[in-house]
Homo-oligomer: 468 residues x 4
């Protein structure tokens, strides 16, 4: 309420109480002020009441909520269902304009503020998470894969002759498809096995560059976040290579914001060489619903070029989700999640592969010896026991994705030496999740053992180790 209304209220309820109420309002306003002034994630999370007050303030600034508005266009933010209006806090106009997804909408000052602030707060969090020199970013209501596609499409205008994308292999369909969809030919570079880890084959990358010719290569498309035994790509070296050959470099950092390791690699890569953009998922890093990504980079003008490439307005829903979440958590809350995740990793250290901080792995060699079918069976057993997210990686699976055949699919390698089981250590995972997972896994292994013969002692060992 404005001061007039507070004054009127003093005539109805005792002035001193109203004054205290009005002062309390200023407390909320003060938080909003800091956000507007600094554009940063608040240190302490906001209460839900501040968040909702703020959103309702934004909503009244959009023309669809003007009391006297007379909309005669086809884009008037009309909503037929009150359930729908309510769940979007009456912010209906989406974000961006036909010209630019980051642009301001004349009809929707509130939604425009939401969009700008979200991008600003997210940029702040990327910095705090380790990429201190990131210059610009924006939230886009598309998954990581489609966002990578948008990056590639933008680069096409800069490199009209280029046809190839160099891509150190990572067995995840959508990032492979992101290149296909953009109309390029992925050049798959197999990883090399170092100890039990799969790492970027830098020499092979450079060989390919020379072979194809730099000008024919759209970019190098590298990956940070992945599951053991594959480890993050050698970003420093790849960035230097790109710099040397004047080739753009796009990093798939899907669930890497939560990993200080991944973020550090990006920061270092940009310092010593060239990273044009790095893309991360909203849901995997910020515990929001699926469907958004952040496209970030070190050169503001290139990031703007990408945002201008998105034709038309777009859904504000992912922006709204991530803004609510970050305001509610605050820097403290988000860091707490990240550190809890780390604790998980450390507690389960026998399975922690030094260079991969995103996942836990366990060899299934013994199970394989036991029976060929047992490995696959284990996967479905876990699924029906409501352990979701654990991946069982068999040996020698072939898979064709968009015309390209991968041998040893899911293991990131044509010839990984053993089958294994893999679990992510994602943000939001709790100690209890891990404990329950181990218990159920234990039961499954025992059952399989009874059915088909003994599980090797080495498995047992690994397995006991997991028992927290």
């Amino acid at each position: 309420m404005n001061s007039d209304n507070f004054n009127l209220s003093e005539k109805i309820v005792s002035p001193s109480y109203i004054r205290q109420g009005s002062q309390a309002r200023r407390g909320h306003e003060q938080l909003i002020r800091q956000l507007l002034e600094q554009g940063k994630c608040p240190e302490e999370g906001w209460s839900e009441s501040t968040v909702e007050l703020f959103l309702s303030e934004l909503a009244v600034m959009d023309s669809n909520n003007f009391l006297g508005n007379c909309g005669v266009g086809e884009r008037e933010g009309r909503v037929a269902s009150s359930l729908v209006a309510r769940r979007h806090y009456r912010l209906i106009h989406g974000i961006g304009r036909s010209g630019d997804i980051a642009a301001i909408q004349p009809k929707a000052a509130g939604s425009s503020l939401l969009n700008k602030l979200t991008n600003s707060v997210v940029l702040d969090v990327l910095k705090l998470a380790g990429v201190r020199s990131v210059a610009s970013c924006f939230v886009v209501p598309m998954a990581t894969g489609m966002s990578l596609t948008l990056c590639f499409l933008t680069l096409r205008h800069r490199r009209p002759k280029a046809r190839y994308i160099i891509w150190p292999r990572i067995d995840q369909k959508s990032c492979f498809k992101s290149m296909i969809t953009a109309g390029f030919e992925p050049v798959v570079v197999e990883n090399v096995l170092e100890g039990d880890e799969l790492r970027t084959d830098l020499e092979a990358v450079e060989r390919k560059i020379e072979e194809l010719g730099a000008e024919n290569i759209l970019c190098v498309h590298s990956t940070t976040s992945c599951f053991a035994p594959r480890v993050p790509d050698r970003l420093e070296e790849l960035s230097s290579l790109c710099s040397k050959h004047d080739i753009p470099h796009i990093v798939n950092n899907a669930y890497g914001v939560q990993s200080s390791k991944c973020m550090h690699l990006i920061q270092q890569g940009a310092r010593v060489g060239r990273i044009d953009a790095f893309v991360q998922s909203l849901d995997k890093n910020f515990m929001v619903p699926v469907g958004g990504a952040i496209i970030a980079g070190f050169d503001e003008s290139f990031i703007q070029e990408i945002s201008k490439m998105y034709p038309g307005r777009a859904s504000a829903s992912p922006s709204l989700d991530v803004l609510i979440t970050l305001l509610t958590l605050g820097v403290c809350g988000y860091k707490k999640y990240l550190s809890e995740r780390k604790v998980r990793v450390v507690h389960t250290s026998p399975f922690y592969t030094a260079k991969n901080s995103s996942s836990l792995t366990m060899s299934l060699d013994g199970l394989q010896a036991n029976s060929d079918k047992a490995v696959t069976q284990l996967g479905s057993m876990l699924f029906t026991r409501q352990v979701s997210g654990a991946r069982v990686i068999p040996l020698g699976k072939e898979q064709t994705v968009s015309g390209h055949t991968f041998r040893g699919f899911m293991s990131h390698s044509e010839s990984y030496p053993c089958p294994y089981l893999n679990a992510a250590s994602a943000v939001g995972i709790t100690r209890e999740d891990v404990t329950v997972c181990i218990k159920r896994l234990d039961k499954c292994l025992k059952t399989l053992k009874k059915e088909g013969g003994a599980v090797s002692s080495s498995d047992q060992e690994l397995h006991q180790g997991l028992d927290l």
Copy 2:
């Protein structure tokens, strides 16, 4: 947002758009201002977004939502469940203080405003509905019956010797019990049959007053809203009688606000004689959940005396419901409901008993002739066919309520000449409700006819008449 925050926003989003947003905000503020200034129901209903904005403004003024609040009392508005907090719009402190249900709470300026404004808006609506000279009222989170009890308990302090309440018979349990609960002895005055209507026996009332002695009588407890064939009590005559004998007069106006007839009777009664308080249900008149009532009267000090009689703070839930509803409907919306209800009554005129505008009635004499059981059977047939609210009134039912035996219970008379069926014409009823009711009733009557013999032609006639 305050002006500082609007200024900051202008740096993020184009100033002209922000300015329009800020101007739009003033539109909402302006509506709130009118409410605060005039304390009246707005002419046009508010949009849901204005209502929710207003409620969130109220909530931030309550100490449980102060950002820096430090509560060390036992009454701090703590809420364990966020579902609960949300459904009350974070208004947790209820209304009133230990001293007075209408009093202001130092810790809860917002809830206090809510309480004061609700009472003020409701008072305005009572005036608009026809009781133009009503002086004061308050919403109490108790049903009509318990609210009547509170009135009687308040009168006790004024009339310590009184033991009796004179009550023209109306067959509704809770209003009878309201007197028993308060510790008084109801003196039941049977109605007289005039034509097919049951009306107040004024002479019998006066006889009772003289017989018992005015000083031994706590009050006359009359009724406006009722079902045909009983008609509203003769309020003018009763009020004059009370005035003459210096006896308080409490009116049960349960679902009478929606009836211009009932409201007119109260206005007239107060003009020519004495009405100390009249009590109406919130749910039946304002389409809100069950559980609240309005206690109103023509002498502010007596109404305050009642509100001070309620020991302790009370639930704000009924006040919140009625305020949301009236702000959303506005005077126009509420009047539209009332006029639709009237249309219903007129359209079904064959069954409209001139002096009762609250219900529709149809004789079941033919059915009775047919078979004794058929009348009762009809009631349960309608119920299982999802016609709710239709009452079948058999002949000669006996019922004991709190020790008193009523003969011919539900018919408001010891000897009504025929059984009948009764439906209310309540606010919110739609044309379709009436049509469907008639269709289902038709089927039931046909079935009963087949089973047990012919339904008399007179029934058929009445019945055809209803077929809109």
Copy 3:
């Protein structure tokens, strides 16, 4: 969804996934089943999704949500505002019938279930909290004071001659008024000072009984939960006395459920003597909005008598709040709150008066010496610094409540030796609340000292002790 719909879904989405979804549904159903079977508070709290699923299941059973319903009565659960419908989960019919607030409504099977289950779950929690032999209870949508009034009104019918209620003094307005409102004359029995504690004067109580005559006394009205230096009444002795003289005994247990001490006293009182009913607040014990109470007792028929005394249907809102809260918390969650509260008490032990576990107290003798005004000033200073709930008790305040004058009001005694400051240790209070309170108190005391002279060293001492 029922099994037909699951079968149909299998044709749209893979059968194995649907089967897992259907199995997951059974998980929720299983929790609901346990609740229906046992009527007890679940050990582990339910997720919000189970709670909301359950409430929507209840709602569809009420006739206002029947798809084909045709309502032609005046009590059809019509709701004009969708905001209102939603906030009540579409449970509109309230609880009870005109005959009995605990009765089942034919039109509202869902609301009736809600009502029955709430009473059953609350009974379970009362047992767990220490009153193991409680036989019956019900939630009533009225504050503690009005609920006490209802108990007294019920007793009147059993003891028509009685005019007095014997009441060991406790300085809280609404419990005093509860007797006045019911039409009885409170007989105030002053407390005796034992050490620095104020305790029940048993001899004075017995003297009064003999003086007035047992048959003229409606009941003894005792209190458990109170602030130091007053301690809970001697319930065992009072109960024995009531038993001996055949006088009913009503206990005001306002915020006593959270205190094992208070609950133990009630259990013991009922074991050795007579307790007819004990009344507790919902908001103060269960962290829900203001406006509900639980009336409980050891004789089911008497408790039913009270529930039948409430004339008419009543608001379901407090029942809904407490049911949501207890299902969400579970026994574990509720006990955790209780034990946190205890920790608070123990941590602040210098101020813990052995026989009072509900509050913390600190003498303000030094401040008083300093300046007369300083004591009162402290109160308002704390208030404006957003410390709510701390009570400053000056010396010798006189207050007239409903015609009765209390000397030394707020101190529960006509002559308590010193002024003091008082804070409740209520359920839901956090360690941080206490810390902040102490810090702000510290600043206030320093300011007062600067302004008007030195605060005595003993205050300083007490004060330092609080500094956790």
Copy 4:
């Protein structure tokens, strides 16, 4: 609740009432059953309670809501903020899989059902709206422009040599950009003026095809919905041309679902010739928030090819919005909106250009004569008077979009004879909107007249005509 739980409930509340409640539940189940069985938009809209019941049923089938779920992956539907969880009805997993946006997710049977049903219901509505032979469609959480891009990217794999897209000019940035973003070169074909209408220059299109060579042309990109004086493209002829030259044909039907004219053109085009896909906006046709589109076509396999082109999972938010909206409206409700829109058009017939049913136009020739600046001024005057959506089209504006310069931008023509004002007649527009718009326009014109000279009488005439 399942039958076990209903049975248990019968022990708590009277069996007959529970049975009626259980029967009422079947009513809701029956509606859900029809939806699952037929996959069609219900004839009558569902109540909000049925919609919410259904959504909560879907949610419990997703693994993030499994009570015993143990998620150890990085895609577990974890949500940090309860505000966010709630606003998505706890449906967190989005839609699709990395392989295909229309694919089923093993972890999310509920979300998968939502996705399938939405696509099925939307297909039904497209048929009802006039494209009776549509074979397949899917909702994609991207605006129309980006969805067109996805279509073009898909076609690229079929026509690797193609570089051009033939595009009859329509002055709307995002559809132009959709081609640029996809990496193709738009070949702009200017419209021809027939009377005061701008129509497709079919000969120019065919000339271009011959000039460039069919194999070098990716597709023809035509438009249905547009503002007068441009009229929908000659779809029949274009489709025949595409068929003849074996060139794909993509139709931009942005806000055409609401126009029987546009839908008829598509149906006819597909009948006589070739339409590969047609794309429409969700917000503009279904009154939901911005950010979704429907990609539809007559060959299921091609539509699947597009859906498989989207790399990764995607936001379910637009699907959820449109499903809620269509279930709530039902076919009847949606048709009612469409017919209201038509009434608007007819009522304002003086301005209705026979071949364009989407907009109203008014010449500003007189104003132009008056003063050059007046035309532009009118636009901003309307904006500040809260008339949103009205477009003022000046003469001879130049605009460069992605490197291409358009002369006479916004008028769809290099040389339209006069400036004009344009308003859409979109679904959801009310009679009041039109009236208010006219009033405010009137005031603006009067002001401009006073300021700068007389507005020509012909304008006045047009203008008076609009005054309904």
